[in-house]
């Protein structure tokens, strides 16, 4: 798995603040992209890499909080760290409930921001990995023949090779062959591994339906 350079997006209408945050975050070896508004951010070409968003609540046009909501609606998954000049409890609660990583009041401690950025990136990275794993598993499952899928389904349900053979009207040896080939295709080291993989796929399938 090739690890891409993470990117921190900063959205703040004050260029001075934007530059300062960019400078600080870059100093810990992260890539930073600064935007003056939410719209500007949405129009940009963003690299497919772990990323997070440092978002000012008070912005020209759409506010930070509303932007957070919009991102959720459009299923754009990106961890958000809010920074604001004056935040109240209500605002903070709303932001955190909606899944914000952190809510920082300006001026913030540099370490607080950097810690929040690290957490956000880690979370995004995990999410990306999880999403990537599921995609691979599905690809592998797709590569199985229909007979192999049939055999796998009965195996994970606890049937013995002999029973499966009787069921599908073939020999026990043929079932064994199908089973080992499916294990190979699915990258399963053991039967337990295979059962886990199929359960995961089932869970995704159920979730999707």
């Amino acid at each position: 798995m090739n690890e891409l350079t993470p990117v921190v997006f900063v959205v703040d209408d004050d260029p001075s603040v934007g530059r300062a945050i960019k400078r600080l975050v870059e100093s810990v070896g992260l890539e930073v992209a600064h935007f003056g508004s939410a719209q500007e951010f949405m129009r940009s070409q963003r690299p497919d890499a772990p990323s997070c968003l440092v978002l000012d609540v008070r912005l020209p046009g759409i506010s930070g909080l509303d932007f957070q909501h919009e991102l959720a609606v459009t299923n754009t998954q990106i961890p958000i760290i809010f920074v604001t000049a004056h935040g109240d409890i209500q605002m903070t609660v709303r932001a955190m409930k909606a899944g914000a990583i952190e809510f920082l009041t300006k001026p913030f401690r540099d370490q607080d921001l950097l810690d929040a950025v690290q957490i956000a990136l880690e979370r995004d990275r995990a999410r990306r990995q999880k999403e990537a794993g599921i995609a691979a598993l599905r690809d592998r499952y797709e590569s199985l023949s229909s007979r192999e899928r049939e055999v796998v389904a009965m195996v994970v349900s606890g049937f013995l090779n002999k029973q499966i053979a009787a069921e599908i009207g073939t020999t026990e040896n043929t079932v064994k062959a199908h089973r080992s080939r499916a294990m190979e295709k699915m990258h399963a080291d053991s039967l337990a591994d295979l059962v886990k993989m199929i359960e995961r796929l089932h869970a995704l399938h159920e979730k999707a339906s």
Binding site: D14, S16, V17, R19, A20, I21, R23, L24, S27, R58, V83, A85, H86, K106, P107, F108, R109, D110, L113
Partner: protein
Amino acid sequence: MISANAGLTGSYDYGEVARSVVIAAAASYAALDLAGRVTAARGRVRAAWLTGGAIAMGIGIWAMHFKGMLAFRLPVSIEYQWPTVLASLSVAILSSAVALYSTSRQRMGLVDALTGSLVMGGGIAGMHYVGMAAMRLPAIIRFSPLLVTASILLAILFSLVALLMAFDLRGETRWTAWRRLGSAAVMGVAISAMHYTGMAAATFVSSAVSPDLSHAVSISPLGNNGIGIVTFLVLGAAILTSSMDRQVEAEVRQLNQGLEHQVAERTTQLEATNENLRKEIAERERADEALRKSDDRLRLVIDTIPVLVWSKLPDGSADFLNQRFREYTGLFIEEGLGEGWLEAIHPEDPASSIDVWRAAFVAGRPFEFEARLRRADGEYRWFLFRGEPLRDEVGKIVKWYGTTTDIEDRKQAEWSLQEAQEGLAHVTRLTTMGELVGAIAHEVNQPITAIVTNANFCLRQLASAAPNPDKLREAISEIVNDGTRASAVISRIRALLQKGTPNRVVVDINQMIQEVSILLRNELARNRVSLSTDLASDPPRVSGDHVLLQQVLINVIINAIEAMRAIKRGPRELLIKSAGDDHEVSIQVKDSGTGFDPLQAQRIFEPFFSTKSEGIGMGLSISRSIVESHGGRLWAESGPTGALFQFTLPAHGGGVS
């Protein structure tokens, strides 16, 4: 009829006989005539007529009789004893009186008539035979009883006829005179017949005895004629008198009738007039009744309409209060009249002073006042007093008419609305304030955030193994820029309050206090705060922004009102005082509220400090900024009876910093 049985044969002088018959008729006529007179007369006049009539008639009858006697001639000389003659005359007069009396009565029944005729007939017969008894002649008179009786009966019969005729003819009519004449002729003949029947009853026998000639006189022809003439004169006089009396009576009656007619006419006129008057009175009464009804109706309307109604004299004293007015205030009519009703107006309201009313009355225009009026149970409610003058033809005000309408509910509604509006305004103000504060925070926070962040970056660089001088320089110069920027933001906010007020004018503090009092009048009334002012006479003017300074005063007063809201009992009093010398003017606002902790005296002017749950603590802070931007000071003191806020402003022309 001559009985010459024993010698003496009498003869009649027929001329004398005729004269006697005429006398009888004349006497009868007089009797009939006099009967009418006696009947017509009353009282003493009647007695006089009766007496006079009886004498005249008696003389007449007697004269006829005597004439009849004289008409009888005997061959002897006849003398008459005069006392007996007088007695016979008396009998004649008495019987005439009875006859006249009988016929002159209102009614004459059969018994009356018979009695009258008996008396009268008896009288005449008596007179005849008494008259004969007066004869003195040398002969003996013998009487035939049959003829005597016949003569008496004739006398009574003729008397009866005469009485009936006289009674019948006593009324006065046109033909009465002729009928009387006829009747008199009949009666004359009848009397004569009786007389000569009586004479016939007597037989004269000559004797040698000479008669007793004492008191006897001989009747000479001259005497005989004298009797006739006197009799006629008496009768004529009686008839003439009677006739004149009748004429006078007729004239009097005519006059009376004329008078009566006039009286009747006048009476008719008077009655007509009376009737008209009665009608007029009835009409007037009906009109009065209608007016009274109309008055009652009007009074009912005035007393019933849901408004207090009054009228006042030009000096402001009430001369009428309707029933609702009296019921509402609980004042008796005599208590409310004059200036008594003023007592029911809330003493704090200007309208409780008669001078305010007088001023309105003197101005002479329709006016409106709002004032609280005490209800009978002691509660005050807001009322609207409206007055309208009534002028006479020269334009002078003679009276004021007005209504007083309960506007408490409307007032409450207005206040509620106002409160709602104020609440809204407060929210808006808070929002605005919040936004302002937010803006200030944001404006200042941005450069500070950049500074802090950049500074942290620098520290990290310096702490690293190989600091990058270019990056450090870059960050530090940004720090300098942002520091400058933060300072500029603060300057800009200050400038907003300070130099950003181009409307510097000369301000009269007293006038401003009055303006603000008017602006806050409702707010004060709604919170039941009574405001009093103690203003310096002609304090120096100050130079400043009128609106901003007003804002400061409003802020301070609102603050005081809000501080007094907690007072449930006890007065809510606000005193605004102005004072000034050559250098500065001071304004004090003192409330009767709970005051504040003296330790907080300085803090209450800090931004975001508030002792009020809903306050955000910017009001006094901003007020102080405004005052200080005008070169003045604003501070607060708390005493046992409330808080005192005061601010000073430099006098205009007296060195504004």
